[in-house]
């Protein structure tokens, strides 16, 4: 077993984690940056290996200069021993051990690739959680067909491999993220048949102050819209995907237009031929580690479970800070600002004297959070997707649980809480541990129980005793004083 000992462990090397690590290290703290990815940058600044082909960052990335300058500075600090960069480290558990934390990892791009993965433990006195988020999904008929991928998955293929997911692509769901996904695919040679957006950006007119506070965001969106126009990509607002078509692979999608009440308007259904559908409905923050630590959570404006933090990005657990999407989905700029504040606060807790004036940073955070809040209200989950979720629609892809089984667990077996639905009907009990179906199962449970989604419903699918696939042999040699507790599942 390899062991490292540092002052601060930053979990995640995306925009928030990189900013936190750099801020803390420059203030004199010895930092380990731990990330599952083989290259730094997280999902946002994912980049291909040099052999994959000619890579022009400007074609796929925003803020690439900020990434390279932060990356270069972290490498310099790694040279002095101030920063330890641990790539390909999948954290599966964090346990308290005396006055420090033991961060347990398994090593590798896919740790089980060569049998039993090598264990690594990082001992740290403080933690910054910057674990990011992944695409939020809603079930609809046919969404398990090969060729249906997540919007983020389509982008990861491009950013990480320079591979285009298919020849004719429909990008669908909701949120401003759909635009860079469509733009990237079109630039790299896919025919983007349509962008199917459930909401309309015109709703930003209701939030003039939030928009004025973050004018750069508007420029970004206008840039994508212009380029999509040049690629002749039609963006259909207030449209949803009703069904993925095909028997063993995707051949097209059925889409429909929403009326003012948010229902599918009769006679507007039509088919679009495509071999790939890239779909996403906002993002789900990755919270198993902060939940393991006992960090308090709340439900954010977008309906996602997020970690509660104070003005210094401190969580409810002493010695643990959080930044970026884990504290509320808001994009890379907000993540960078929060990461920096978290890193400075963690450094200050060691008595670092030179943390400087951070008032401008705090003002920037306020305006970016204001914009994020407006964005969530402009791009809500279309309730029609849940209303139309027929009994035959697959919800849990791993355990192959359909919506009817979930409905019957609630209305016939009386499981009014998502946690009980999970135990009775098994959604969220398979390989992915509810990462994909958790949000939808929570929504469907609440809907059938005739009440709004509660924090407990979301927590039922976010609590994971083991945060990454770990061989039983590793658990048998559990390094902590106590074996892991919990309801399994």
């Amino acid at each position: 077993m390899t062991e490292h000992r540092v002052d601060l462990a930053v979990i995640g090397a995306g925009p928030a984690g990189m900013a936190a690590a750099l801020a803390a290290a420059e203030a004199g703290t010895r930092v380990a940056v731990i990330d599952a990815g083989v290259r730094p940058g997280g999902q946002y600044w994912r980049s291909p290996a040099p052999g994959a082909g000619p890579f022009r960052p400007a074609t796929l990335h925003h803020g690439w200069r900020r990434f390279t300058s932060t990356d270069t500075r972290l490498t310099e600090l790694a040279g002095t021993g101030r920063v330890l960069r641990l790539a390909g480290h999948h954290v599966w558990s964090i346990l308290p051990a005396g006055d420090e934390w033991s961060v347990h990892c398994v090593l590798g791009a896919e740790p089980r690739q060569h049998g039993t993965p090598a264990p690594v433990t990082v001992h740290a006195r403080r933690l910054v959680i910057a674990t990011g988020a992944y695409d939020r999904q809603l079930p609809f008929p046919g969404w398990d067909l090969p060729g249906v991928i997540t919007a983020g998955g389509g982008q990861a293929l491009l950013k990480g491999n320079l591979v285009v997911a298919g020849q004719t692509v429909v990008v669908a769901g909701t949120g401003p993220f759909l635009l860079p996904v469509a733009d990237g695919l079109a630039r790299y040679g896919a025919r983007v048949a349509a962008v199917i957006e459930a909401n309309s950006p015109l709703a930003f007119a209701r939030f003039p102050r939030a928009v004025l506070g973050a004018t750069g965001k508007l420029g970004e969106a206008t840039g994508y819209a212009g380029r999509l126009l040049r690629h002749r990509v039609a963006v259909r607002h207030r449209h949803v995907v009703l069904r993925a078509l095909g028997t063993d692979r995707l051949t097209g999608v059925l889409v429909g237009k929403l009326d003012r009440a948010g229902r599918v308007r009769a006679g507007t259904e039509r088919e679009i031929a495509c071999d790939v559908l890239a779909v996403g409905w906002g993002f789900t923050p990755q919270l198993e580690l902060p939940l393991q630590l006992g960090c308090a959570t709340r439900v954010d404006v977008d309906g996602s479970l997020v970690v509660t933090v104070d003005e210094d990005q401190a969580t409810s657990v002493a010695g643990v800070w959080a930044a970026g999407e884990a504290t509320g989905v808001g994009g890379a700029d907000l993540a960078t600002v929060e990461g920096r504040l978290a890193g400075l606060a963690a450094a200050a807790s060691f008595g670092a004297d030179e943390v400087g004036d951070d008032r401008a940073l705090r003002r920037r955070r306020t305006s970016l959070r204001g914009f994020a809040s407006a964005m969530h209200q402009v791009y809500p989950i279309p309730q029609v997707m849940l209303e139309r979720c027929s009994d035959e629609t697959l919800v849990c892809r791993c355990e192959e649980v359909d919506a009817g089984t979930i409905r019957r667990a609630v209305v016939e077996l009386g499981a009014t809480e998502a946690r009980i639905v999970k135990l009775l009907a098994r959604p969220g009990m398979g390989w992915c541990q509810g990462r994909v179906c958790g949000f939808a199962t929570a929504c469907l449970t609440a809907r059938h129980a005739g009440r709004p989604v509660a924090e407990a419903d979301l927590r039922a699918f976010a609590d994971r005793v083991i945060a990454a696939p770990t061989p039983l042999g590793q658990l048998a040699t559990w390094p902590g004083d106590e074996p892991p507790a919990g309801d399994g599942g």
């Binding site: 040099p50 791009a109 896919e110 990480g160 192959e400």
Partner: protein, 89 residues
């Protein structure tokens, strides 16, 4: 801007072109392969879905090691990639 290093991997015995730095999932996608696993209960075909190691839909057998996430496994020359059925055990 280095030139891509190209090689082949085997998918159920058929050679597929691959580039240095690609994942197994990227190589299969680039070759037009959309599924390489069937589910335990419904025997439904599955392939890439989340693309970032979250969903475990893209599980595949590589060099005899089953249930690996194709979206994460880096491809190497001569890799023997095989479809897997059910639990692959």
């Amino acid at each position: 801007m280095s030139r891509p290093h190209e090689f082949e991997i085997l998918f159920d015995g058929t050679p597929l072109p691959c580039r240095d730095g690609w994942t197994i999932g990227a190589a299969l996608t680039a070759a037009g392969v959309r599924s390489w696993r069937t589910t335990r209960h419904g025997q439904r075909p599955r392939g890439l879905f989340c693309g970032i190691g979250i969903c475990f839909d893209c599980l595949v057998t590589v060099n005899g090691q089953p249930s690996l996430r194709a979206c994460l496994v880096p491809a190497n020359p001569g890799d023997d990639v095989r479809t897997q059925e059910g639990t692959a055990r």
